[in-house]
Symmetry: C2
Subunit: 579 residues, 2 copies
């Protein structure tokens, strides 16, 4: 079952009515060729591709999985052709820089295509997302020579990319990596070490794979400030761009995983492999961070995308499956039993999904647009402000999205009863596939620590205050029907701000870690509340959005009461127990 229909109406509503992105694009020279009509056309074409090319391979990709041999990794049937179709029509390079053959589309638009891709086939999508991430690193920090050599074939889909960060003993703590890079006489480097959990590290989709590898130079300082970034191609590239000798990088094995089985997760062995330094020495982690906001949001979109697919299946099933009569006589059909969508508890499960997915989609577009502003806006001050906004909200765009992703896919599976647990309907695959998104690209716990530490406490709540000031101003003229909900949102914002100031002054070492997840969830609910109010206030939103917004505030918003209460918990409740 791959019954996916891209939610184009909701996507257009966000692009045009809620955020009016075409107007923002017009104000940025790098993006002003993108019109609203062109954006709509891109989404429509992207939708066809996802519905017709990617989605039909989702189930078979899970069943076949990837196969390792000493010669390489074989991906599921059809993946190679689908990747070529994607790449040849320019979709891998959709957000890529135009100087080297990318399409230069704004992130505010590409987030929607990414969501569709994840809905249709998360495993296959990872190959293109990782390639886009590697391209972004190269485009941002590589020399002209590196860019000329590698970007065009990667955008074209002839070559793909991987990000090689994690090592067996160094995952969340990359400062401990041991992979070494020795300078060679010709200016290249000899890279040696083992990397694990490398998505798309080896496969048969493309004729070359360009690894971006974190490694340490011989004289590098200890810890995070001694890490450099290298390009290590699987096959060395001749001066004319043709493929040369095989480099000394091999895939030692692939992981047997809970899900995303069509995505090859590789152990990569670099054994004196030839690599090329990207940018300056010892700035590798900084370069990662440039790219990480894009990648983390993309992984977040896996949460939204898979939730959307699951919701579509659950909704269709709930309308079709008959079981028990409606409690409400006015809803009864003539049959022995009614479609289960008449039962309030089934609707509860569906509404939670709908309310989270639509708010998540809105936050994806919002964050994508902020990334564009931070990168392309001509005004320095505007760029700096957007940069802070991106920094603040990226942990939500990764962790809050993917936690909701699991919650929603599990609820969608539950709507199916026993049929959700068997393979046939695909619901259990969605749960298995989406689960990784809470882990990779920085676990959600790491995201929460990043949020409360670097993004909130380190700047004494400045980015938070700036965000909340914008919310207050943007909701100034909202329809009076929603003033009650607005007051609720504003009140919680005020409480969180006050609490942050208390913590800034406290300096208790375990406090940030203790409250990290609570702050992540509270800021997530506040942001979704804000976006629901922006959505209901947009033109033409009445029938489309108001009932779901009502549900959000009646049902999901009250979670803030629990979180506000937890903010009072001292770290001793976690730290004072001998475990």
């Amino acid at each position: 079952m791959t019954d996916y229909r891209a939610p184009l109406e909701d996507m257009r509503f966000l692009l045009h009515s809620v955020f009016n992105l075409p107007e923002q694009w017009a104000a940025m020279p790098a993006l002003n060729e993108m019109s609203g009509d062109l954006a709509d056309a891109i989404l429509e074409e992207g939708a066809k591709l996802c519905e017709q090319v990617l989605a039909p391979l989702n189930r078979s990709g899970d069943e076949e999985g990837c196969t390792w041999s000493a010669d390489g990794v074989t991906t599921p049937n059809g993946f190679k052709e689908a990747y070529q179709t994607l790449a040849e029509s320019g979709w891998v390079g959709l957000g890529g820089v135009t100087e080297y053959g990318g399409q230069g589309a704004p992130k505010g638009l590409t987030v929607l295509f990414e969501e569709m891709q994840y809905s249709a086939n998360s495993s296959l999508t990872l190959y293109s997302v990782l390639t886009a991430g590697a391209c972004l690193s190269l485009a941002s920090h590589g020399s002209d020579e590196l860019k000329e050599t590698y970007l065009p074939p990667m955008y074209e889909g002839r070559w793909s990319g991987s990000m090689c960060l994690t090592e067996p003993h160094a995952g969340s703590d990359l400062g401990m990596i041991r992979t070494k890079a020795e300078p060679q006489a010709d200016g290249s480097f000899s890279v040696s070490g083992t990397k694990i959990f490398i998505t798309g590290g080896e496969h048969d989709l493309t004729e070359n794979i360009i690894h971006l590898v974190l490694a340490k130079l011989p004289d590098a300082p200890d810890g995070p400030k001694g890490i450099s970034l290298f390009v290590v191609p699987k096959v060395l590239v001749n001066a004319d761009g043709s493929l040369g000798e095989r480099n000394s990088v091999t895939c030692g094995s692939i992981e047997h995983k809970m899900g995303i089985k069509g995505s090859a997760t590789c152990v990569m062995n670099f054994d004196g492999a030839t690599g090329y330094l990207v940018g300056e020495a010892n700035k590798g982690l900084n370069y990662m961070f440039t790219m990480m906001n894009y990648e983390r949001l993309s992984i977040g979109l896996q949460g939204t995308g898979q939730a959307e697919w699951s919701y579509q299946q659950a909704l269709a099933y709930a309308k079709d499956r008959v079981q028990s009569k409606a409690a409400d006589a006015s809803l009864r059909t003539e049959g022995r039993a009614d479609p289960i969508i008449v039962h309030p508890d089934v609707r509860r499960m569906l509404m939670i999904q709908k309310a989270y997915i639509e708010a998540g989609r809105a936050l994806g577009v919002y964050l994508g647009a902020q990334l564009d502003t931070a990168r392309y806006h001509p005004d320095d001050a505007v760029r700096v402000k957007a940069d802070g906004r991106v920094a603040l909200l990226t942990p939500l765009g990764k962790a809050f999205f993917t936690d909701r992703g699991l919650e929603c896919t599990v609820l969608a599976q539950q709507v199916f009863g026993g049929h959700g647990y068997v393979r046939e309907w695909g619901m259990e695959q969605a749960v298995r596939d989406v689960r990784i998104a809470q882990i990779y690209e920085g676990t959600n716990g790491i995201q929460a620590m990043d949020l409360i530490g670097r993004k909130v406490l380190m700047n004494k709540g400045e980015w938070l205050a700036d965000f909340f000031a914008d919310i207050r101003s943007e909701l100034q003229n909202i329809d009076s029907a929603w003033h009650g909900q607005r007051t609720q949102v504003f009140d919680v914002m005020t409480k969180l701000e006050a609490q942050v100031q208390t913590w800034v002054n406290a300096g208790e070492p375990n406090l940030a870690g203790t409250q990290a997840y609570n702050v992540l969830e509270l800021l997530g609910l506040i942001t979704y509340g804000y976006l629901w109010l922006r959505m209901v206030n947009a033109e033409g939103a009445d029938a489309l959005k108001a009932p779901t917004a009502q549900f959000y505030f009646a049902w999901l918003w009250p979670q803030v009461d629990t979180l506000l209460q937890r903010l009072q918990a001292e770290s001793s409740v976690l730290m004072d127990i001998a475990l």
Copy 2:
């Protein structure tokens, strides 16, 4: 990795210090041969069996799965021998009636053994749990002849049992079943129909399988009141108890599932199979309900058991894995990084598991003891009261346990980071395996509807009031250090009671369904709060229990604030939207 150690200390603490079950057993003639020492010895022997026989087959069982052929179903290597070991030492018949070879152990004790079994190997455990359930139905409602024929070999493990309820079009709504039973001249019945999702419907563990089948007699009334219960053996039994001809019941296929792959989930075809009526005609669903409180609690214990296993692995991993330095200088080791258990957010994940698991274990024992009282107590009034308590709390013992089961296994998996997503450590299997427990034996949504409908509103909150009155009285003399938490619990009880009275008077058809899940979760949190207070108040609990109880009230209890708020939501937030 099957590193399971049964939590015997905590189990003994519950049996003796918190609930003093040996004293209760002494008051019931049917149970007064069970002493505290004997109970401890049983738990110790049971622990060895689970640790040494069942646990080592958990991972291989998942990897091998079950195999169907026209000749039958092959279970994973080692399952047959393990089942025989279980049965031969009397563990399958542990709670069985002594007249026919059961051990007659109290449910208050067997719940702890069941928890251990599920911790060690949920797939294998299902075969014995289903057999015990079938035995209980037979023992409670079957004729002497049926009991004499079937119970001894089932307790001995030569034969096993299955429960055949669900049909393709009738799952939650059993009133719609179509399987037919035609009376035959010899007093037997000819049973025809298709049953799906039949756990242990076919396998190679035992030489016979005794199916308990819901079917309709030709003249049966429509709906739930026209359902009868039949014994349909896989192999017909001769008058002398020896095996005769194969009956016309076959396994058409097995399901390919997300998890519990060592458990055969069968499509069973009855094609004029010979069956024998259990008890009276048209009382089948009533008979199911007798057994269902036992079975639902047992499935609930899968949640607790798998959460316990997962917690043990996560705790060990958190002490072993080093990553990043502690924020708190006093916790730092000399290494480049510290064990991740020093990080508050990791401790948050572990503490949530610990607080839910230990309260869940307590509620399991509490419910088991109530089942014993309801069945065996000499005083009618005491039995009736316990029966109401069991009815009220069984939905928690199934749904609240298993929802927490998924939550805890997902958190335990998260502690492992990327290593949690690969097969190697077994964490992903635990998540896949436990997920079914929220679905089978009545989905958790059905449990919530049962709670608010039949157990709360139908008797105008009488059972709820009785439970709360007991809580108020039992917590009367609690240590003053816990009076604050007691007040919190009492306040929420009062609010829920008042709300229930409002609903009793309202008569709005969609209200019960709208609030069902909220009431389930609120009653779950109240009950866990009550049990935490009973535990901290028990002798010798200080060091063992107080810090976790503090955590429960600081961190998990505040979820009541969200739920109380949601109780105010009108059904329109779910019903008034066109989905």
